[in-house]
Symmetry: C2
Subunit: 113 residues, 2 copies
Amino acid sequence: MVLREHPMTPDSQPTFRALADPTRRDILKLLATQDMTIADVSGHFDMTRAAVKKHLSVLSDGGLITVEAQGRTKINRINPTGFAPVLNWFEFFDTFWDDRLTTLKSVIEKDMT
Amino acid sequence: MVLREHPMTPDSQPTFRALADPTRRDILKLLATQDMTIADVSGHFDMTRAAVKKHLSVLSDGGLITVEAQGRTKINRINPTGFAPVLNWFEFFDTFWDDRLTTLKSVIEKDMT
DNA sequence: TTGACATAAAACCATTTGGTATCACATAAA
DNA sequence: TTTATGTGATACCAAATGGTTTTATGTCAA
């Protein structure tokens, strides 16, 4: 028995990969406040635009942002739907642990105290 | 304004990193069903025990499993509390999006249909 | 049309990552 | 005490990753 993702399930790997880098997670928090061009995003980090652009590409591959061309700039916009694959993955444990009265929700609440 | 994790917040990076690999996510699903030794886990994957051991170390670094010595074997056990850092990170967006009536919960439900 | 500017793309580099093979160590069993 | 077995640790390798620099390309404004 080798556990593998079901073939029909949308591949969650690009999303998990996109979330694995701290800079990309910070970019997502940035874009949660407002849509931004690449130049805008770059202004918040100590790295070249090219590097930021690569991160945005990874985020786009993971479905976590959408990019819309607007003249000579591109508007990077967070995509709430893109979180679904990861959230659904967590849901597996949530439903699984319902039996043990150890839901993920209770885990969060425990951490809050 | 450069977004960085608050110094007092437990570092979530090792947890995100641990979740970024598909094999490690499969291991977690395995351990959700029952605790296992390294040999047990290895039996489910087409790779050497050494490779599986590395994955288990990364999962342990991320706090997602605990390891208990038992004679000459080691029992690997999933640690629900270890999910807290990532779940809390998602909570940020959840509360943020409450204003827009776009909570993560609704994202999941939309994906279910 | 010319020049400025935002993004794209490619080559390149150092480090990390996921895997292997090998050897050492500790514990259970003969 | 041997011997087998489960695990740990190290060295090593190919590929991926995160960054830079440089060179296009496309679009807006004089």
